[in-house]
């Protein structure tokens, strides 16, 4: 692993004076596979402050989950290799500290919930035991105390009749309740950062609404920073403060949620917003983004989106676009024509 020692190229608004709670800087991750070298993360920078929700939006293979796994330190290495970059948590680089120190951060400071609660829970232990396990191991609580805390946590995530259900097994819970159990587990150590990786994708809409409400309430009560990884532009619009759109292992647009939906500054974001059917808009013809997401073993030269982009020019095929500031401070788009797209002066 090599790490940039000097001040790396950080996001425009990252200042050294006020360190962010979590600050990912210029992260590069590769996967060495039998088929070849796959460049999964190609210079991702984002930051998170207490109490805010950052949505990381992208399609399969965009690198949104891999970035989260790198932050958590749960990337399988090999095949993954972190080439360069920093992950600063309260100013400390998680990539350079010892595995023991890392363990202290994982779960206790930064916790994560996953899409599929059924496979994330152990089927042969009661849920209460699984929630309490963390507390016994990490905080040295006695069985009885840990159990008491587990009931409290289950009540915190609004599982009805928590006291009676503490001895039930995961299969006895519905999908929504299992997701609540997982949230309870992740909150056991009172983390400052919660990474939610597609937390409601496997759930029905009415249950999704319940879980998103719960996460928003908990984030407010516990003043956590939340990274919401999703592909659903509807969910983002409902809960996030800021949004980072990922494509081919890069953040191609970063903005506060309102301005991004109002005037996207990257053709990919614009295409995504136009291609989703809207329930509140009738009779629209769906726009499509032509082609397919790139093969990460063979990312196109220049702008990775250029083969699919309706506005692509010669420069897009040759030069990787820099992060061009548009609109409000902190907002940027990695497109040569960011300002034109933002102002609607193209197409």
């Amino acid at each position: 692993m090599t790490h940039a020692t000097a001040e790396p190229a950080a996001a425009p608004d990252a200042t050294a004076a006020t360190p962010h709670l979590l600050d990912v800087r210029d992260l590069h991750v590769e996967f060495h596979t039998a088929e070849g070298l796959s460049k999964v993360i190609n210079g991702v920078s984002y930051h998170l402050d207490p109490g805010e929700t950052l949505a990381v939006l992208g399609e399969s293979g965009s690198g949104k989950s891999v970035t989260a796994q790198a932050i958590m330190g749960i990337l399988d290495t090999p095949p993954a290799v972190i080439r360069s970059g920093q992950i600063l948590y309260q100013g400390r680089d998680l990539l350079t500290i010892s595995e023991e120190a890392r363990r202290q951060v994982r779960g206790k400071e930064i916790a994560m919930i996953f899409q599929d609660a059924l496979s994330a829970l152990n089927p042969v232990f009661p849920v209460g035991w699984q929630i309490a396990e963390t507390l016994r191991v990490r905080e040295g609580l006695s069985r009885a105390d840990a159990r008491r805390r587990a009931v409290e946590l289950m009540e915190l995530v609004k599982i009805p009749a928590a006291r009676e259900r503490i001895s039930d097994y995961p299969h006895q819970f519905s999908g929504g309740m299992r997701q609540r159990v997982m949230i309870a587990m992740s909150l056991a150590m009172k983390p400052r950062v919660l990474i939610a990786d597609e937390p409601t994708t496997a759930l029905d809409v009415t249950v999704q609404a319940q879980i998103m409400d719960l996460l928003a309430d908990l984030r407010r009560e516990l003043n956590m920073g939340m990274i919401l990884i999703t592909h659903d532009l509807g969910v983002v619009a409902d809960v996030a403060d800021r949004i980072a759109v990922m494509y081919a292992g890069r953040i191609i647009e970063h903005a506060d949620v309102r301005s991004l939906y109002k005037s996207p500054a990257h053709p990919y974001t614009k295409g995504l917003l136009e291609s989703i059917p809207r329930m509140d808009v009738r009779g629209q013809k769906l726009a499509t983004i032509k082609g397919l997401p790139p093969n990460l073993m063979d990312i196109p030269a220049g702008c990775p989106f250029h083969p699919r982009c309706p506005y692509a020019q010669q420069v897009c095929r040759e030069v990787v676009p820099p992060e061009i500031p548009v609109g409000a401070p902190g907002r940027y788009s990695a497109c040569h024509f960011a300002k034109e797209v933002h102002d609607g002066r193209l197409g």
Binding site: Q210, A237, V257
Partner: protein, 346 residues
């Protein structure tokens, strides 16, 4: 006989498929030596609807509502417990042997998962051409290859890729292969079971547009099963909302989305996140509490009453019928059916 379906004059809007009081109960059994039935999962419990020529009927509902079982029943992959269905006037469930084969030819299915629904050891040409083995009258042996190429072209794939294997295609392309296979026998009805749920957002629109284009060109009727209400609104002409094995409301796209009268439909619609942050906090969202009850032991009377904010005594005692309501003339199965101004102001 086989040709009669093709030569008959086809009127758009006439009923092509009529389903009457369809029921499917899966028995729950207990015991190892002496198995006995102790109950039944009532997956589909009295569903009736009509599908018209050239239209898309959307079927929406949450997991466990019976929408996929309904699809499997119509495809005759499951045997119904009771009920009738007629396809162009012929009894779908009484058909046997050759007649069943002919009926099946006319109704094909597109599956949800483009990864597991294609045999990885078969080439695309073999996958799409396989239906001709069972129905050789559709394409004589010599013409099959040409017909498969035609189908590939129709769904927007390169006909040169006829000898490739499924793993060489992306998810969206695989779904196109599944659609080409469904079209091979020139069916009039295609049952699409969550055809775009497994696809990325930017690819979903491509497949939805393809389905619409094929419908226009070939005059197909679709039964479009999905849990994504936005996609369904986009593609469907009429929509049936299912809850615990029953249709609770059915109507045109406009009636269901603009003037729903069943509380479940209203809650379902209000829970769908709208991709517009300006509306945050302004939209009223009806929060349903709890989970869907077990279909093995559904609540008495109205099945939605355990989660319904309007529920009264009568809802536990009397099952509401799916009938036109005073609030709006489309059928809705609720004792207190009315348009909710929270969901559809004005």
């Amino acid at each position: 006989m086989a040709a009669s379906a093709d030569t008959r004059t086809k009127v758009r809007g006439e009923t092509i498929l009529a389903v009457d009081n369809l029921v499917k109960h899966f028995p729950i059994s207990q015991g190892i030596l002496f198995r006995k039935t102790v109950g039944a999962v009532r997956a589909v419990d009295g569903v009736s609807f009509e599908l018209r020529r050239g239209e898309t009927l959307g079927v929406v509902g949450e997991s466990g509502c019976g929408k996929s079982t309904l699809a499997r029943l119509l495809m005759r992959l499951e045997t119904p417990t009771s009920g009738r269905a007629t396809l162009e006037g012929r009894d779908l469930f009484a058909a046997r042997g050759g007649e069943l084969r002919r009926l099946r030819r006319n109704m094909q299915m597109v599956m949800q998962d483009p990864y597991t629904s294609l045999n990885p050891r078969m080439t695309v040409g073999d996958i799409i051409g396989e239906p001709f083995e069972i129905h050789p009258e559709v394409a004589p042996k010599g013409q099959r290859q040409a017909r498969v190429r035609e189908l590939l072209d129709l769904v927007g794939l390169n006909p040169e890729h006829i000898n490739r294997y499924p793993h060489q295609f992306s998810g969206g392309q695989r779904q196109r292969i599944g659609i080409a296979r469904a079209l091979a026998l020139r069916p009039e009805i295609i049952v699409c079971d969550e055809p775009v749920s497994a696809l990325d957002v930017s690819i979903q629109a491509q497949v939805v547009n393809l389905l619409e284009q094929l419908q226009d060109e070939l005059g197909l009727s679709y039964i479009f099963i999905a849990h994504d209400l936005s996609v369904v609104r986009h593609i469907a002409d009429r929509i049936a909302v299912m809850y615990l094995g029953k249709i609770v409301e059915i109507g045109t796209e406009d009636e269901i989305y603009e003037r729903p009268t069943h509380p479940y439909t209203q809650a379902l619609l209000s829970a769908v996140p709208v991709p517009d942050p300006e509306l945050r906090g302004q939209r009223e969202i009806i929060r349903l509490t709890g989970d869907v009850p077990s279909p093995a032991n559904p609540p008495s009377g109205c099945r939605f009453r355990t989660r319904c904010w309007k529920a009264q005594e009568i809802c536990a005692q009397q099952e509401p019928l799916l009938v036109p309501q005073a609030a709006d003339p489309h059928p809705s199965a609720c004792h207190f059916a009315e348009v909710d101004t929270r969901v559809n102001p004005g």
